[in-house]
């Protein structure tokens, strides 16, 4: 039992002390059993207080420390480190959350919040009395990383990790790498095309010796943990032999009688069942879309490299860390949303970008020449009624950029932007200025009065009550209506569920802390990057990919990792080996051990994850979780009840 405890209660610069009488909390706990000193501090996490704590621990030989401040997600590790610098084992530290769970939650009831804080601190004191010095479990960490998603984020991260000396597995669900960016034409700010950027990246990628790229590949199961994830990958065949004659293959494509919508072009064009997206893409080999293939055999007759005997493969890989770069889906408007699917000249921004790329000389859609284009902004973002409350951040710039490109590439294009206030943040503002100078027209709707799309002859008419001209009702007869659709999380996010990645309010993957740990997730060893975390433009994606790569690297670089020693412990005197615990354990961490007088359960320390599922099933109450023992929990309950 620890009985020389130091307790620190943080003001958090007002975040706590504005609602909680911090001094009263201090007075209420200073006479608790075992408390040697109890102090308040403006910023517990500040350097000077940390120094003071170190001195206190050393000078007084404290054997337990409690800091009552913010959520442990923020600063548990900070204060464990302080405890360690005070030469006390860091597991003798207990964190009390009196900010998120007291001052902020009960800012409407100062007395109630103070009362609650007192009990929370007392419970932490009760717990720290039972705390013991522990040694972290060391495990070896495999110096390899799985990067899931082969868009720009995944490719960039893979190259980086490989440069740093890791073995990298790049796993792409589609048959070609490049992701969304390969679908875009000219990009802001460089005017490099998406294809060029992607080509540049995979040229770098294939130069690296220690990157293995799997396309048509999906992770289907995951076991293991940080340092040693065991992934099963299902690789669907291309039905084309690796080395093939390009000319023959083109002929094979030409003879294929099947035509299906081309999702690379967002279904505005068709493609064959044997296809590739664009000439220079990677891998340089087409693929047979077996779901739509009728097995007519026409291609086989022409090209000897077609091989229908190829089989699905299952691969096992072993990695120390997983980097998620699964990207986003463009929002798909509901039927009838701004005329989508009601009028055939209403399309989405991604479709529009493909049309610009695919048209030459004249901008045409469904055989008609396009002159007047109406862009309706914030479709699927900033929804007043729908569930996407967030701003997709990239779309204003992207739509304006596309409008400029269209105007420069084709003659007589008139752009009308139906906005909700343009958000070309930062240097992107110059683009907004440029488009206005080129004669683009900007209109803005009131928040509760969005533009309305109706049909007239073969045109779509977009009507708006325009803020900028003093509520004037304006209408534009458009040859094409472009719905500026935002980013939404991937529809098929099964890989996220597989890794149990938590999602934020916007349903994108969530980081631990936007500023402190922006690319880490609560699942140890898994980092996130790019638009799977939330809308981002390409530059922001590259930054987050590189940050995530550096973080994943830090998990595997040393070949060894320290894990929390919070595992189950068997009381061999009480154990009667009934096998219930072993059955409850999801990690096969419990085995029978033959003792002298009886058989007992035994915990495999490196397999136990400390979930505690074995605890309630034990008929003799012979299992406790370290740091969550009966003593600790029950004394906390006593303190909270008192």
């Amino acid at each position: 039992m620890n009985n020389k405890l130091g307790v620190y209660i943080c003001h958090c610069g007002g975040n706590i002390s504005d609602y909680i009488d911090v001094e009263k909390v201090r007075q209420s706990v200073e006479n608790e059993e075992g408390v040697f000193l109890a102090k308040t501090t403006m910023f517990a996490c500040g350097d000077s207080n940390q120094k003071e704590m170190v001195e206190d621990i050393k000078n007084n030989h404290l054997d337990g420390v409690v800091v009552a401040s913010c959520s442990p997600k923020l600063h548990l590790l900070t204060f464990r480190a302080v405890t360690e610098r005070g030469e006390l084992n860091k597991y003798n530290y207990v964190h009390a959350n009196i900010r998120e769970q007291a001052s902020w939650a009960h800012s409407d009831d100062k007395a109630g919040a103070t009362e609650k804080a007192i009990h929370i601190v007392k419970a932490a004191i009760a717990k720290v009395r039972f705390a013991e010095s522990l040694v972290p479990i060391k495990i070896s960490s495999i110096k390899s990383v799985a990067v899931i998603g082969g868009g720009v984020a995944g490719m960039k991260a893979a190259i980086e990790l490989s440069d740093l000396g890791c073995q990298v597995y790049l796993i792409e669900r589609e048959y070609f790498v490049g992701g969304r960016v390969s679908q875009w034409d000219s990009l802001f700010t460089t005017n490099e095309t998406g294809k060029e950027l992607v080509t540049r990246l995979y040229n770098d990628l294939v130069k690296q010796k220690n990157i293995t790229v799997y396309t048509g590949a999906e992770v289907i199961s995951n076991s293991g943990n940080i340092g040693d994830f065991k992934l099963k990958i299902k690789i669907t065949p291309r039905y084309i032999k690796a080395k093939c004659n390009q000319g023959e293959l083109q002929n094979a494509i030409d003879v294929c009688p099947v035509e299906v919508p081309d999702d690379f072009n967002f279904n505005i064009t068709g493609r064959k069942a044997i296809y590739h997206n664009f000439p220079s893409e990677y891998p340089q080999s087409p693929v047979i879309d077996i779901k739509n293939c009728t097995r007519c055999g026409a291609c086989e007759k022409i090209c000897e490299n077609v091989d229908f005997t190829q089989k699905e493969e299952i691969m096992d890989i072993n990695v120390g860390s997983v980097l998620m770069a699964t990207g986003f889906d463009p929002y798909t408007p509901a039927d009838g949303e701004f005329g989508y699917n009601s009028f055939d000249n209403v399309i989405t921004l991604p479709q529009f970008k493909r049309i610009i790329d695919l048209s030459n000389e004249k901008l045409t859609f469904k055989g008609r020449e396009i002159k007047n284009i109406a862009y309706i902004y914030c479709v699927g973002s900033r929804q007043v009624e729908g569930e996407n409350k967030y701003c997709s951040r990239y779309c204003c710039t992207s739509a304006i950029h596309a409008a400029i490109i269209a105007k420069k590439k084709f003659l007589n294009i008139y752009n009308f932007h139906f906005t909700r206030g343009i958000r070309t943040y930062g240097k992107q503002e110059v683009l907004y200025d440029e488009s206005s100078r080129m004669g683009d027209i900007y209109l803005q709707s009131y928040e509760n009065d969005p533009p309305v799309v109706t049909g007239r002859n073969d045109k779509a008419v977009v009507r708006i009550n325009d803020i900028l001209t003093g509520k004037r009702e304006m209408e534009v007869e458009a040859d094409l209506v472009v719905l500026v659709t935002g980013m939404v999380p991937r529809k098929d996010n099964s890989v996220g569920s597989l890794f149990k990645l938590p999602k934020g309010r916007d349903r994108f993957f969530n980081e631990i802390h936007m500023k402190l740990r922006p690319v880490e997730t609560v699942i140890d060893g898994i980092t996130i990057s790019g638009a799977c975390q939330g809308p981002k433009n390409i530059m922001e994606t590259a930054n987050s990919a590189l940050s995530a790569a550096a973080k994943s690297y830090s998990y595997v670089s040393k070949g060894e990792l320290e894990l929390e020693p919070i595992i189950a412990r068997i009381d061999k005197d009480l154990c009667t080996w009934c096998n219930a615990c072993a059955q409850a354990c999801p990690f096969n961490a419990i085995e029978m051990e033959e003792g002298k007088t009886k058989n007992v359960a035994s915990i495999n320390n490196s397999a136990c994850k400390g979930c505690g599922m074995c605890l309630p099933v034990c008929p003799t109450d012979a299992i406790n979780l370290i740091a969550y023992s009966n003593n600790e929990i029950e004394s906390m309950i006593d303190a909270l009840a008192g």
């Binding site: 610069g13 975040n15 403006m42 910023f43 996490c45 500040g46 350097d47 000077s48 940390q50 913010c70 923020l74 900070t78 720009v152 440069d163 740093l164 000396g165 990009l187 460089t190 490099e192 950027l197 540049r200 409350k389 967030y390 701003c391 951040r393 343009i422 958000r423 070309t424 943040y425 930062g426 240097k427 992107q428 503002e429 200025d433 009131y446 803020i467 003093g470 509520k471 309010r505 916007d506 500023k515 402190l516 922006p518 690319v519 975390q533 939330g534 390409i538 530059m539 922001e540 590259a542 930054n543 987050s544 990919a545 590189l546 940050s547 550096a550 973080k551 690297y553 830090s554 670089s557």
Partner: protein
């Protein structure tokens, strides 16, 4: 004149210029992966602008709670050396993986290792000057500790304003005041450089029509930030003219941003959000206050930002679309703002008892002079040019020199941190590949 013999040599893997949140994050990433880093910070404390902020959007975490632990981790890290009060004078690239930097360390006139931060010198000093860390809202002494959570928390003598009266020397318990200190010149050898020199705030004196500097109750957003911060100068919000607690507050967005008349056509990316944040904090601190934000477009584009904007509207913050044309002062010190309310298409005037100018982000021109023999290219707004912004945003026109944070353009804290992660990651590759 410093004699050649006095130049001190030292070598590190990476020189990080700027000890703000971006420089600090980059240094930590590098140091945690085993590289030796030198941070050169011009100011007396590390932590940059972020350590001086109140709370951060959109989570309303207190800024100090995020910055101070990072700062203390940086200052404790065995692989990181910090020079505060120091300037990079010149950098020459000799070859790949080989740079030579001349660094000047200005004297603090206090023996930093011995100072206990007791503040007795501060009490004894008879000289009072404006406190730049409180953005001139209050005064400080010529012998002073920059601010309560400064790192290092060590006194310094502001020699420009010191009268050399010796009062501080007499009271200092460890006798660590030393007027004989001289500036030290270092020649530093490094293998790579990260520039994280941050940004400057727009100076509203350049926009006389807003009356800043002329009318007392017009302050900058940074001055309001200080009034809201935990280490605030007053224990409440006061308007400077007469010390009255304000009840009608106006925010003038795009002061010095998106404005060709002062030569900065781009959007500063942070002002909308920090103004919305301050508005929420003000409504908490002064429940009777009435806060109006005059905007052109609200740019709440980041993760959770739009929701934060909606939250502010829900709390009753007024948002009026229209740029302020002019501000004039009334006899009682209140201010009259003239604008066109775009939503209603009407010219209006409104009276406020304090006006906060939401000043924008301007390039820090210090960076232009670092390199003399190689050219560090700047973009048309004088930020550091990113030579491959889409694939390698941290790269500059000099191989081996990387940029982190707002030195390359306006960005918020999360983006700065990601940018620092990106810069450190690229620097690591550069170091490993060229070994």
């Amino acid at each position: 004149m410093i004699m050649q013999e006095q130049i001190k040599d030292a070598s590190y893997d990476v020189l990080v210029i700027g000890g703000g949140i971006a420089g600090g994050e980059a240094a930590l990433n590098l140091a945690n992966n085993g590289f030796k880093v030198l941070i050169v910070e011009k100011d007396l404390s590390i932590g940059g602008k972020m350590i001086l902020l109140s709370k951060v959007f959109p989570t309303l975490d207190c800024s100090a709670c995020i910055t101070t632990p990072k700062v203390s981790e940086i200052s404790r890290h065995p692989a990181i050396t910090i020079f505060t009060g120091s300037e990079v004078k010149k950098i020459v690239k000799i070859a790949e993986n080989s740079f030579e930097a001349d660094v000047l360390r200005y004297p603090r006139y206090v023996i930093a290792e011995e100072c206990t931060g007791c503040q007795l010198c501060e009490q004894a000093c008879p000289v009072i000057v404006k406190d730049e860390y409180q953005f001139n809202l209050v005064g400080r002494k010529a012998a002073f500790i920059p601010f309560t959570i400064a790192s290092p928390k060590v006194a310094a003598i502001d020699i420009e304003n010191c009268t050399l009266c010796g009062a501080c020397e007499k009271v200092c318990p460890p006798k660590c005041i030393d007027f004989t200190q001289e500036k030290e010149e270092y020649r530093i050898k490094v293998k790579s450089v990260i520039i994280a020199t941050g940004f400057k705030l727009f100076d509203p004196l350049l926009m006389p029509r807003y009356g800043f500097g002329l009318y007392k109750n017009i302050i900058t957003s940074m001055q309001m930030e200080r009034q809201l911060a935990p280490t605030r100068p007053f224990n409440t919000i006061l308007r400077p003219g007469d010390g009255k607690v304000p009840c009608k507050v106006a925010y003038v967005l795009c002061t010095g941003s998106r404005d060709a008349t002062i030569g900065n056509p781009v959007c500063s990316q942070i002002c909308c959000m920090y103004s919305i944040k301050q508005a929420q904090l003000l409504m908490g601190a002064l429940p009777m206050a009435d806060v109006t934000i005059y905007y052109l477009n609200i740019r709440s584009f980041g993760k959770g930002f739009e929701e934060f904007y909606e939250q502010a509207k829900g709390m009753g913050v007024n948002f009026i679309k229209g740029k302020i044309g002019k501000i004039s002062e009334l006899e009682n010190g209140n201010l009259k703002l003239r604008y066109e309310d775009i939503n209603e298409n009407k010219v209006k005037e409104s009276e406020h008892d304090i006006v906060v100018l939401s000043v924008g982000v301007i390039a820090n021109l210090d960076t232009a002079t670092f390199f003399s023999e190689q050219q560090l290219k700047l973009d048309s707004f004088n930020f550091i040019n990113q030579t491959d912004p889409l694939a390698s945003p941290a790269r500059t026109s000099i191989n081996g020199v990387f940029v982190a944070g707002t030195a390359s353009g306006p960005m918020d804290i999360p983006d700065s941190i990601l940018s620092a992660g990106s810069a450190s990651s690229e620097a690591m590759c550069y170091l490993i590949q060229k070994k």
